[in-house]
């Protein structure tokens, strides 16, 4: 479990409980996501990874407990106030969530047109820069329905970062991508984090990429979470970690044991 909230924690879950009908998802979840770090949330399907990201975005309210983003509790915020918080967030949804009726260019330009005073020329430049970042070219006039699954996810990724958010939430960013594009998106996430200082929270099943880029790992299981640095988790004797990571993951983590660790599993 996460320790007490520190100055460096950008997102904090405190005693969060949530159930869908009679099925509990979280029961007293305590978790902290450090500022300007990459945290990868892992867990079996249905463990609540996507729900966790939706709670950070205020799309899902907890039944009890509190979620704080940049020190601000989301509990009492109405939609207007939540909008203020959400302007500091970028979110990549699992299925892209691009607007069907708009072209790729219009989709990515939308938040810029809504929230900035930039000229059309500046918007065009910015959108094309983001499209290049994710390895897409010449897709301006295509509708989302005309893109392949991988292209759709990359276009959605471009939209999630176009407003230069403080916190980037990525729900399964590597699913449906071919290996070169997995590497490209992984490199882009690391670049956004290391060079622009974004706090990145990624939910992923993609073990290799997750372990490569994570500053902190968070394993979701039975409504609770085990979190720590990869090296810290490697030294843990918790069988849950070994069970979930499998042989490859454990070997990878074992290789990290010699590296300096910022903290143990908490």
């Amino acid at each position: 479990m996460a320790g007490p909230e520190g100055q460096s924690d950008h997102v904090v879950f405190e005693q969060v409980g949530l159930a869908f009908g009679r099925r509990p998802v979280f029961s007293g979840l305590n978790l902290a996501f450090p500022r300007q770090k990459i945290t990868v949330v892992m867990g079996e399907s249905g463990a609540g990874k996507s729900t966790l990201l939706r709670m950070i975005g205020g799309l899902q309210r907890p039944d009890r407990g509190e979620v704080r983003v940049a020190g601000e509790s989301l509990a009492d915020l109405d939609e207007t106030a939540l909008g203020r918080v959400r302007r500091r967030l970028g979110m990549l949804f699992q299925n892209g969530a691009l607007l069907d009726s708009m072209t790729v260019f219009e989709n990515i330009a939308l938040p810029l047109r809504e929230h900035t005073e930039q000229s059309e020329e500046e918007i065009r430049r910015m959108v094309h820069q983001r499209l290049r970042d994710v390895g897409l070219g010449d897709v301006d006039d295509l509708l989302p329905g005309e893109l392949s699954g991988g292209m759709l996810r990359r276009a959605a990724f471009a939209r999630s970062i176009v407003m230069a958010p403080e916190i980037l939430l990525c729900d399964e960013p590597f699913s449906g991508l071919d290996p070169p594009n997995v590497s490209r998106i992984e490199a882009l996430i690391v670049h956004l984090n290391r060079n622009l200082g974004l706090t990145v929270i990624v939910s992923s099943h993609h073990m290799a990429s997750s372990l490569r880029m994570a500053d902190q790992l968070c394993l979701m299981r039975a409504g609770a979470a085990i979190s720590g640095t990869p090296a810290g988790l490697a030294s843990s004797q918790d069988s849950t970690i070994a069970n979930f990571m499998g042989e490859d993951g454990v070997s990878y983590l074992a290789g990290l044991q010699d590296q300096p660790s910022a903290g143990d599993p908490s």
């Binding site: 302007r87 949804f93 969530a97 069907d100 938040p111």
Partner: protein, 258 residues
């Protein structure tokens, strides 16, 4: 017995809660009308989808209803030697009742269901959540333009339906059955009063448009976020809106007569 009473109580409670949520939703749409930006391009696009794309259906239906009215009323009136009154009978029945009501039912089936399905599909594919995460209010960006369009197109389409109906009855009565053209048009013109007939027709169709806009957008916005949920919401829109239009028609006719 206890279970029946319990079930009834739950149904009543849920219905009242649902009505409350619908009312709050209507308030959000009305508020969105005054919040900048005005969403002119989105409203124009929704007007095209709800209005222009419904035009062929409304014209064809109006013309067909006009054909039937022309035949039926001509045969009935000719029994009393009053076939000259065909223009009056067709005009009054179309303008006061058939125009607004049938247009309301047709638009509910075409544009109302399409609106629910579109908003529902956007919800199921997280597009509405995507807008929220970009700090864009989906009621302002998605719902309000479609609600405005559905409300505005109803009186216009109703007027088109009435014109097509009158034209259809003219073709049957005058061109096919040999009624005098001048007599048909003169009787029609003399019988129609602006306040009693035309204004009543416009008010009715505007109210039907408001009801349909409210129901169609709410059903889409509140549907379960999966294919079956969208399908159920779409069916529910057509059924609920049709019943509401018929009930509202009776209420408005009764009120107008007072």
């Amino acid at each position: 017995m206890k279970a029946v009473v319990g079930g009834l109580g739950r149904w009543v409670t849920e219905s009242i809660a649902g009505l409350g949520e619908m009312t709050i939703f209507a308030g959000r749409i009305v508020r969105a009308l005054w919040v900048p930006p005005a969403r002119g391009a989105l409203i124009r696009s929704a007007l095209f989808d709800s209005g222009v794309l419904s035009l062929a259906l409304v014209c064809a239906s109006g013309l067909t209803v006009g054909f039937v009215l022309g035949l039926q009323l001509y045969n009935t009136l000719s029994r009393f030697g009053a076939e000259e009154s065909l223009g009056t009978a067709v005009g009054l029945s179309l303008i006061r009742e058939l125009g607004p009501v049938l247009t309301g039912l047709l638009v509910a089936g075409r544009a109302g269901s399409a609106t629910t399905a579109e908003i529902g599909a956007m919800k199921a594919t997280e597009q509405l959540d995507g807008l929220r995460m970009m700090a864009i209010d989906p009621v302002h960006f998605v719902v309000m333009p479609r609600a405005v369009a559905l409300t505005l197109v109803m009186p216009l389409l109703s007027a088109v339906f009435v014109l097509c109906g009158i034209g259809g009855a003219y073709l049957i009565g005058v061109e096919l059955l040999g009624l005098d053209s001048g007599s048909y048009l003169a009787n029609l013109e003399n019988a129609i009063q602006f306040r009693e007939d035309v204004l009543q027709s416009l008010v009715k169709s505007l109210v039907f448009g408001l009801l349909l806009a409210w129901i169609a957008t709410w059903r889409g916005f509140s549907c379960a976020p999966h294919a079956a949920g969208v399908s159920r919401a779409t069916t529910s829109t057509v059924v609920t809106a049709s019943v509401c239009i018929l009930l509202a028609d009776y209420a408005l006719t009764a009120l107008w007569a007072v």
